[in-house]
């Protein structure tokens, strides 16, 4: 399923990177531990997390994730937004909890692993 459709269904707010919404999402990965995401997420996954600091951008970039969903109405730090723009990483915001976002995303695309 394309990012655009997922953003619409999950009512996500696009914070940065709206130019690449036609990319296909390969699955999701929910975790707040950076090493876990680095080790276990897959190319094209949407990453669901409550982390808001700038180091999440390098992780998304390094693993070619399709984007990051920051949950629970949390706002990314200013330097996170700045870095996401520079690196062309899609940052999304949700008002819901990680459990709910993950459940809804699973309902839409299932697990490809």
């Amino acid at each position: 399923m394309k990012l655009r459709k997922i953003i619409e269904k999950l009512q996500l707010k696009v914070l940065t990177g709206q130019e690449n919404l036609e990319a296909e999402v390969t699955g999701g990965y929910t975790s707040d531990l950076l090493s876990d995401v680095i080790a276990n997420s897959k190319n094209g996954n949407l990453w669901i997390t409550l982390q808001t600091h700038q180091n999440i951008i390098a992780v998304a970039k390094l693993k070619d994730l399709s984007g990051i969903i920051i949950v629970n109405k949390r706002e990314p730090d200013g330097d996170t937004l700045q870095k996401a723009k520079e690196e062309n990483v899609l940052l999304l915001g949700s008002e819901e909890k990680a459990f709910d976002v993950s459940g809804k995303l699973y309902g839409l695309i299932g697990s490809k692993d």
């Binding site: 531990l33 982390q51 600091h53 180091n55 390098a58």
Partner: protein, 150 residues
């Protein structure tokens, strides 16, 4: 990037300890170089994971470090030497879940105790040595077989 006449490529990166604003820059550069020269994507992912964890260890614990990428037709080497506190007990540090990260780092999602084990898992050969009070050295080798290059 330097390329010698034996088809070897080598690049040196300096990493500054404590500078979280640049963390990930070295491993991202390494990934881009490997993609540019046409290394197979499964190898690129392994090298990216290993170099990210090596880089973050310098950022989190050391004063500074130098990571060198060296590629021969058959092998990819990552060599890291840092100046820092070193590791007292390497066997314990290699255990998954063991970490000396501060509370602040853990809140940021670091310090899962997965760094060194992640490096080892993604390497074909991994060597670590350390002198407490001086620094730590890592030697990571990933084999490039026929599938290593596109």
């Amino acid at each position: 990037m330097t390329m010698n006449n034996e088809n070897e490529l080598s690049q040196r990166f300096e990493i500054v300890g404590g500078d979280f604003s640049k963390a990930g820059k070295t491993s991202t550069s390494i990934k881009e170089i490997l993609q540019e020269i046409g290394i197979d994507s499964s190898i690129v992912v392994r090298a990216a994971i290993a170099s990210y964890e090596a880089e973050m260890n310098v950022v989190m614990y050391a004063q500074r470090g130098v990571l060198t990428l060296n590629i021969t037709p058959m092998k990819l080497h990552l060599k890291l030497d840092d100046e820092g506190p070193g590791i007292e007990d390497i066997d314990t540090a290699m255990q998954e879940g063991f970490s000396t990260a501060t509370e602040e780092m853990r809140e940021m999602g670091f310090g899962a105790g997965m760094g060194l084990p992640n490096i080892k898992k993604n390497a074909d050969k991994f060597e670590i040595s350390s002198t407490p009070g001086q620094g730590t050295s890592l030697r990571i080798t990933i084999c490039l077989d026929k599938k290593g290059r596109k």
